[in-house]
C-alpha cells in the first residue's frame, strides 16, 4: 500500500516511552505492546514527534536523489529556508548554481511563487465579499491546513484559497521549461528541496487542486552536503549565469521566517503565530471571534517558520541571521497590487476543501452520542493522573480508545493495581498484605 504520510517510526529504536504521545497535537500516537504507533488518519506530518523523540525513533520518509533519473529534464525548487542554511561567503546566486550542479538542469526560486501568492492574497483582502470570513488564514503551511480541516473545520472558509508558493512555482516551472526545451511536460521532473515532511505529504495528497506539479520532495538535509561540495568547486560560468538572472525580490524571500508573509502584504492588521501548539491557541481565538482587529493571520507549524523545519541543518537562530542576509541583498519586490487580480485568477483553488472527520467518534450522530456518554462514564472512573503508562496521552484518550474497542480498562496500570490489591485482600489471610 502507498504510504500516505511521511513521518515514520523505527520500531527497533522505539523504547515505548511517552514523550511523543504527549506532544502530538492530534493525539495520533499510542504506545501498544511497548512500541509507538501512529494513527495515520490523524497524522498532520508536523514532525513534533521527530523533534521530541530522545531515541531518534521517528524519521521522515523523503524522496532521494535516485528519483532524478526517472526524468529527462530536472528542475529543483529552492525555498527561502534553503538559503538560510548557508553563511558567508555564499550568495544566493552561488547557492542556486551549486544546487543545480548537484544534478539538476535548472533551478527555480520558490520565493518567486511566494510573491505571486502575496499578490493574490492582497486581491482577496480587498474583495468586499471577504468580510464574511475574516481574518484570512495563510494556507502555505500544509500542517496548518490539515489542522484546520481536522480540528477547526469551521475555519475552512478563512483559509487563503490559493496554491502554496511551492505549487505556484512548480506549475510555472514546468510550463516554461516545456516551452523552452520542447520536452513533454510529463518527462520534466520538478523537485522541491524541502524543510519538512509535510510538504512531501502535500505533494502526494494535494489540497485545493486536482493534481500536483511537484514530482518529488527531497529533504534540505539530504541536499545540503551535496550543495556544500558544489559550492567549494563553483563553476564561474554557472555562477555568472545566475548573477545575471533576475532573482526573486525581498518579499518572497522573507516568507522563510515567521512574519515574512505578513510583512509582504504591507498591512499592519496582521498576526503571525509559530509553533503548532501556539497556532492551535490562536485558531481557538479566531473561532471564538475574538481576533476582531486583525485581517490576516500567518500561521506556521514550526517555531521560527520554515527555517525551523524539522529537516533543515542550521539551527533556527543561525538560520534567521543567514536569511536576513539574503533578504537584505535582494531587490525590492515589484508592487504586489499591480498583478493582484491576475495572480488571484491563476492561483485560485479549483477544488473545495472538505472537513476531515478523523477525530470524530462516529459518522452517525446518534451513535456518536451514545459513545460519548460511555466515554464520559469511563473517563470519570479512570484515576485522572494522565500518566501515559497505558500508552494513551491522557485518561480521556484511553476512555476514547476503550469506547472505540481499541483498548480495555485493564490497560490502566493504576486501576489494574487497585483491582489486584482487591483480589489479594479477599484471598490473602488476615493481615497478609501491606
Amino acid at each position: 500500500m502507498e504510504l500516505r504520510h511521511s513521518v515514520r517510526l523505527d520500531r527497533d529504536k522505539c523504547v515505548g516511552c511517552t514523550n511523543c504521545i504527549k506532544r502530538c497535537p492530534t493525539e495520533a500516537i499510542r504506545v501498544r505492546d511497548g512500541k509507538a504507533r501512529i494513527a495515520e488518519p490523524r497524522c498532520l506530518d508536523c514532525g513534533e514527534c521527530i523533534r521530541i523523540c530522545p531515541h531518534h525513533a521517528k524519521s521522515a520518509t523523503m524522496d532521494g536523489y535516485d528519483v532524478l533519473s526517472r526524468y529527462d529534464y530536472r528542475i529543483a525548487l529552492a525555498s527561502p529556508s534553503l538559503y538560510a542554511q548557508f553563511g558567508p561567503p555564499a550568495t544566493r546566486a552561488m547557492i542556486l548554481a551549486a544546487l543545480r550542479a548537484t544534478g539538476f538542469d535548472d533551478v527555480r526560486e520558490v520565493a518567486a511563487g511566494a510573491e505571486s501568492v502575496t499578490s493574490a492574497t492582497l486581491a482577496e483582502l480587498l474583495d468586499p465579499d471577504r468580510a464574511t470570513a475574516l481574518p484570512l488564514i495563510s494556507s502555505a503551511c500544509p500542517v496548518v491546513v490539515r489542522l484546520v480541516q481536522m480540528r477547526f473545520p469551521g475555519l475552512i472558509p478563512n483559509l487563503v484559497p490559493f496554491d502554496s508558493p511551492m505549487e505556484a512555482t512548480a506549475t510555472v516551472a514546468r510550463r516554461e521549461a516545456a516551452a523552452a526545451t520542447g520536452h513533454d511536460p510529463s518527462r520534466i521532473g520538478v523537485f522541491f528541496i524541502s524543510p519538512c515532511p509535510a510538504k512531501r505529504t502535500a505533494a502526494r495528497q494535494p489540497y485545493g487542486r486536482e493534481r500536483t506539479d511537484v514530482d518529488a520532495v527531497i529533504a534540505i538535509a539530504d541536499a545540503y552536503p551535496r550543495i556544500l561540495a558544489c559550492l567549494e568547486k563553483m563553476d564561474p560560468v554557472a555562477l555568472h549565469e545566475f548573477e545575471a538572472r533576475t532573482l526573486a525580490g525581498r518579499d518572497g524571500i522573507r516568507w522563510g521566517n515567521i512574519g515574512g508573509e505578513s510583512l509582504a502584504l504591507g498591512t499592519e492588521r496582521f498576526l503571525a503565530v509559530d509553533g503548532i501548539h501556539s497556532v492551535i491557541e490562536i485558531l481557538e481565538e479566531i473561532e471564538n471571534e475574538r481576533l476582531r482587529d486583525v485581517v490576516f493571520v500567518e500561521a506556521n507549524s514550526c517555531i521560527g517558520g520554515c527555517i525551523g523545519g524539522v529537516l533543515v541543518v542550521a539551527n533556527r537562530f543561525t538560520a534567521r541571521t543567514r536569511l536576513k542576509r539574503s533578504i537584505e541583498s535582494a531587490a525590492v519586490s515589484p508592487p504586489a497590487h499591480d498583478v493582484a487580480r491576475e495572480a488571484a485568477r491563476l492561483l485560485r483553488w479549483t477544488l473545495p476543501l472538505a472537513p476531515n472527520p478523523a477525530l470524530q467518534l462516529d459518522a452517525d450522530l446518534e451513535l456518536a452520542l451514545a459513545k460519548y456518554e460511555r466515554l464520559e462514564r469511563i473517563a470519570k472512573e479512570l484515576p485522572g493522573l494522565d500518566c501515559g503508562a497505558c500508552g494513551a496521552p491522557d485518561c480521556r484518550a484511553l476512555a476514547e480508545d476503550i469506547v472505540n474497542g481499541e483498548a480495555t480498562e485493564q490497560d490502566c496500570i493504576v486501576r489494574l493495581r487497585e483491582q489486584l490489591r482487591g483480589t489479594l485482600e479477599t484471598t490473602a489471610p488476615e493481615g497478609g498484605v501491606d
Binding site: G154, E284, R292, P357, L361, D362, E366, A368, L369, A370
Partner: protein, 151 residues
C-alpha cells in the same frame, strides 16, 4: 436517548482559564461530528457568556446538554445581575472594568454576539442574585437568520 450532559465550573476573575468551558464543549461537539457552522455558533455564544460570568459576575457554572439535533447551554452565575437587559443587549454598552479592557474585553459586543449566534436566547437575571443565560443552537438551521443588529 438521553442527552450527553457536560458540566464545567467557571472561575471568577480568572482571565487565564476563561474559555475552558466553551472550549471543552466545542471539543465534544467536534468529536460528535456536529456540523462545523453549528459548532462555531455554539462555541462563540458560549464563550461570550462564559467571559461575561468571569468578568462581570465572579464566576459560576456551565451546564451543557447535547441532543441529536441541538445543544442547550446554561451559564449561571451568582453575581450582581443585569439591571437593564435592554440596555445591556445594545451594541457598545459596557460596564467592564479597566482590567478587563486591558485584556481586550469590554467592547459591549458580547451579548449582541450571543443573540446573533443563538437560535434561542433566554436571559433570566435578578439584581443582587445572579444571571442565567440559556442558549440554544440547532445543528441544521434551515434558513439564514434575519440580518443581525449590525446590518
Amino acid at each position: 436517548m438521553l442527552p450527553v450532559h457536560l458540566q464545567f465550573p467557571i472561575r471568577g476573575g480568572d482571565f487565564h482559564s476563561a474559555g475552558e468551558a466553551s472550549s471543552g464543549m466545542k471539543k465534544a461537539l467536534s468529536k460528535l461530528g456536529v456540523d462545523p457552522s453549528a459548532v462555531k455558533r455554539a462555541s462563540v455564544a458560549m464563550y461570550e457568556a462564559e467571559i461575561n460570568a468571569v468578568i462581570h459576575a465572579g464566576g459560576g457554572e456551565a451546564d451543557v446538554e447535547i441532543f441529536a439535533d441541538r445543544v442547550s447551554i446554561v451559564i449561571r452565575d451568582h453575581g450582581p445581575g443585569i439591571p437593564d437587559v435592554g440596555l445591556a443587549m445594545q451594541e457598545g454598552w459596557s460596564t467592564a472594568p479597566d482590567a478587563a479592557r486591558e485584556m481586550g474585553f469590554g467592547a459591549g459586543m458580547g451579548l449582541p454576539n450571543i443573540q446573533r449566534n443563538a437560535d434561542d436566547l433566554t436571559i433570566d437575571t435578578r439584581v443582587g442574585e445572579g444571571t442565567a443565560l440559556t442558549i440554544l443552537v440547532r445543528f441544521h438551521r434551515p434558513a439564514p437568520t434575519a440580518p443581525g443588529p449590525e446590518a
